[in-house]
Each structure stands twice: as C-alpha cells, then as structure tokens.
C-alpha cells in the first residue's frame, strides 16, 4: 500500500501479521479499560459542578476492595498479553537450526551483506522467500541497528560482537531496510531495500552475481585467509607450536584454562581471532597474537565461515 497516506506498513511475514494482531488486540483492551475513566472524568466534572444541586452524601474516602480490584484485575489481563509477547520474542531470538546464514557488516553509513556463496551486496539484501534467513551482524565502528519495518523486527549491530536476527519472509516484494540506532551524520540515509524473491528466482539471481563478488564462496575466501594470515602455521597438523586443532571446533564445548566450559559459537570464534587471550583453551599457553588491528570484520566473517564447515577428525564423538 503506497500513496500519500497509507494506513499501515506492509506485512511480509507471519510474525509481522501476528504482531499486528497482538498490538491491535492489546490496544483494544487498554482502550476498553481506560475510556470509562475519560468519560467519568468529564461526567463527574459536569454533574458535580458546584452550581449543581445534586446528592453528595456518603462519598467514601477509601475502599480497600475497590482499590485492590482495579489495581490487580487490569494487571492480570495485561499479564496475559505479556506471556504472548514474551513467547513471540523468544521465538524471534531463537533462529531455527540450519537457517540460511548471511553475514552483515554495518559501517558509517552503509550496509554490507555477505552471502555464503561469496556474493556481496551493498545496501540491498536479496533473500529467498519461505526460507528461514539468519543474519549474523557486526559493526565496524559505532552501534547501528538493522530494521525491517515490513517484518516488524530490528536488532542492534555492535562493534566487536556478533548479534543476530532471523526471519522467514513469505510475501515476495521489495521492502525498506533502515538503520534504527543513531550513528552520526548520515544516519537518516543509511538504508536500502530488502528484496524477497521466490526461491527459484533467488537461485537464479545468485547465479548471475558471480561477476561482482569473488568466485570463491565465503568459506573459500576464509580458507585462503587462513593460509595467507599464517593461521595454519600454528594450527596446522605439522606445526611445532602447541595450538588447538580446529577441526570440528564449531558448535562444540571448549574447556578453558580457568575451568569454565563455553560453546564454540560464532562469537567465540570471532573473539579467538580478535581477542585471543580473553578465553584460552585449557592446557594451552596464552601466546596467540591478536589480529584485532590487522583484519576487517568482513574477513573475520570469512574465516568463521571456513571454520564452521571444518569436519571433526575421523572417529571423534559427535
């Protein structure tokens, strides 16, 4: 719906439709609870005007049961919506396993998207419809926020950390994407388009992108970096230096020197490259140099993509 005055933004996913239902029904409930107040205010002001001769006898100045009921009952009704809204939120923050992952790097004042096959986009994001899409995002400078009004979702994008948001768009079309966290001079023009394509058309589109990006997939780019930056020098099988073997590292628990055990997720892999001594694997010395100054977030994304698809060594438990 476009034009000078359109009632509500488009809804491009099931979540968007559900959210509008939640908002509308909660709005209706609160309106029903509060309109009486406004009406009574005006009514009382008129009816009990000092010039009116009405019955003012027996006006109470306190009533415990009334006070308790009008406090507790609306609160309980609100709690019902709280449960609904919280459950939707938990769903929003739990991407389905195996979701199609796209990396996002935000910088003043543009958005870069890295598809797994190596395709890169700037400010425009093509995604397949009816497919869970998971965005793994980081910033090169300040905090930004990636907002898709038509999907009713947003998530802040932080420097030095990965945050994520996921969606499943089911209405092919073109929708706005906007930066929603004030990030400096050109904040209001840091936007673009989300282009939702039916899966076949999306596959077609991807094929035609080969000339812009590199010919390697994101993981392939990561493999090349792993060699070029010297990572395999310590982490490779023939190394004299004692460094953890990275085969199958992603998604498994890792024991640290202080006794804690953490899950090796994308953030862990990122931190191991950028802030290596923050969490040191148990039994290893803290000697890995930091790559914090040397590589860009886009390259970290490539390395992480490479590490994620490394198979565990033969015969190790799943």
């Amino acid at each position: 719906m476009i034009g000078p005055f359109h009632p509500i933004a488009a809804r491009a996913s099931e979540h968007a439709r559900t959210l509008d239902l939640l908002f509308g029904s909660f709005g209706a409930m609160v309106a029903v609870l509060t309109l009486p107040i406004f009406v009574l205010l005006v009514l009382f002001a008129i009816r009990y005007r000092t010039t009116n001769d009405v019955n003012r006898e027996h006006a109470e100045s306190h009533n415990l049961w009334i006070e308790l009921s009008w406090s507790i009952i609306p609160f309980l009704l609100t709690l019902g919506f709280f449960v609904w809204a919280t459950s939707l939120y938990f769903d929003l923050r739990t991407p389905p396993p195996g979701a199609y992952t796209i990396n996002v790097v935000a910088k003043q004042w543009m958005w870069k998207f890295q598809h797994p096959d190596g395709t890169a986009e700037i400010n425009e994001l093509h995604v397949p419809a009816n497919t869970p899409v998971r965005l793994v995002m980081t910033s090169r400078d300040v905090i930004h926020s990636l907002y898709f009004p038509a999907l009713r979702i947003k998530q802040d994008v932080l420097p030095g950390r990965y945050t994520e948001e996921w969606f499943e768009a089911d209405r092919p079309g073109t929708y706005p994407l906007r930066c929603a966290e004030f990030c400096g001079a050109d904040h209001s023009v840091m936007g673009g388009q989300l282009v939702v394509l039916r899966p076949e058309r999306y596959a077609n589109w991807l094929e035609h992108q080969g000339s812009f990006g590199t010919s390697a997939t994101l993981a392939g780019q990561g493999e090349r970096l792993f060699r070029d930056l010297g990572c395999s020098g310590c982490h490779g099988p023939a190394s004299a230096v004692k460094a953890p073997d990275l085969a199958g590292v992603f998604g498994r628990p890792v024991g640290l020197t202080d006794g804690n055990v953490v899950m090796a997720d994308e953030q862990y892999l990122h931190d191991s490259i950028m802030l290596p001594n923050s969490q040191v694997v148990g039994g290893y010395p803290a000697i890995m140099p930091t790559y914090g100054n040397l590589i860009e977030p886009e390259q970290v994304n490539a390395l992480v993509a490479y590490l994620k698809q490394l198979d565990p060594p033969e015969g190790s438990p799943e």
Binding site: L256, D258, N260, L275, N277, S278, Q279, V280, T290, G292
Partner: protein, 210 residues
C-alpha cells in the same frame, strides 16, 4: 563549658538542627555510595566478560602497596572514630590529635599510592605516554579502570583530608560534647575507607593466589 554551633534559620531548637545536619550527611553518603556503585558495576561487567584476563591483570598489581594502604586507611578510620569519642568525653586535645593522626595517615595513603603510580609509570602500564607497553589489550583496559577508580577515590580522600584539617583546627568543634561536626566528618571519612575496603579486593585480590 560545652560549645556548640550557633542556631541558624529555619531551626528553633538546636537538637533538631543537629539531627538535620546528621541526616544530611547520611543522605550525602548514600549518594556517594551510589557513585562508587557505578564503578563497581563496571568492574563486575569487566570481570564477567573476561574472567581469565581480569584475574591475570589483577595478579600484576602491586599487592604490597595495596595491602599497606588498606592497613593505613583502616587505622586512619579508627583514629577518626577515636576523635569522636574523645570529643564526646570532653577531651578536646585528644580529639584534635586523633584528627591530625587520621589526616596524617590519609596523607601516607596518598604517598604510597603516588609511589605505586610512579612504579607503574616506569613499567609502562600507565595509559597515554609513549612508553606504554601493556601485555595485552585487556591489560590496558584493566589499567584504565584501575586509574579511574583509584583516581576518583583519591579525589574523595583528598576532600576528606581537607575536612579533617578544617575540623581539627576548629576549636568549637573539638569542644563540642555532641561531636556534631567531628561526627559528620568522621562519617564521611569512614565512607572513603569503606570504598577502599571494596576496591582493594576487586583490584588486588582477584588475581592473588594464582
């Protein structure tokens, strides 16, 4: 003859005015506690995010300086409490001496701290100067935190020294059997001490025993 502060507007009764002064100081101390609360919240966050590096950075701190300072400040606080009791017991001269003693120990604290900072400068772990050479990036973050936290504490301690000095010189305060001014200044001094009692383990003991 017990000497007291003169009554001022809007009070009619001296007792009421003294209660108000005491309550005022307590409220002020509450606000100061929240100020340092923010510092401790930052420390907690850093520790939770980087547990390993926090403890190893803490292990590099000068434990002897920190411990000596803790002993010095605790004793200083004790002297401030003694000053209050002395004034209440009518022993104005001892009240004065205890106050000077507390102030002297406070200055000793600052001297030990200054020496510690100087040693840290020499080792290159003071952020800013060109010879700065931290072992790791987090070490630099930790030292940043250390300087802000101890610097803020030292500022408050200096203000406390001024208050102790003013009170020690104030004849009327020393002779006040109600120990109003001395009591309020001692309260402030105890806060300065208490903040240090929490800063010390946070900064120095996190890495001890490794």
């Amino acid at each position: 003859m017990p000497e007291q502060r003169e009554l001022h507007e809007p009070f009619h009764q001296r007792e009421r005015q003294e209660e108000a002064d005491r309550l005022g100081m307590l409220v002020f101390i509450g606000s100061e506690a929240m100020l340092f609360g923010g510092i401790f919240a930052a420390a907690l966050a850093l520790r939770l995010l980087h547990p390993h590096e926090f403890t190893s950075a803490s292990a590099h701190m000068k434990l002897w300086h920190g411990t000596a300072n803790t002993a010095v400040l605790l004793t200083s606080s004790l002297l401030a409490a003694i000053a209050v009791e002395a004034a209440r017991g009518g022993r104005a001269r001892w009240a004065g001496r205890a106050l000077w003693g507390a102030a002297a120990l406070g200055m000793l604290f600052l001297a030990i701290k200054a020496h510690e900072y100087w040693l840290e400068w020499r080792e290159g772990v003071v952020p800013g100067p060109p010879n700065a050479d931290f072992g790791s990036r987090f070490e630099q973050l930790f030292m940043n935190f250390y300087f802000v936290a101890t610097g803020l504490h030292a500022l408050h301690l200096t203000a406390g020294l001024v208050l102790l000095g003013i009170t020690a010189l104030n004849r009327r305060a020393r002779h006040d059997r109600g120990a109003v001014l001395i009591g309020n200044v001692a309260l402030y001094w105890h806060l300065v001490d208490l903040v240090w009692v929490f800063l010390y383990p946070t900064i120095y003991l996190a890495g001890a025993g490794r």
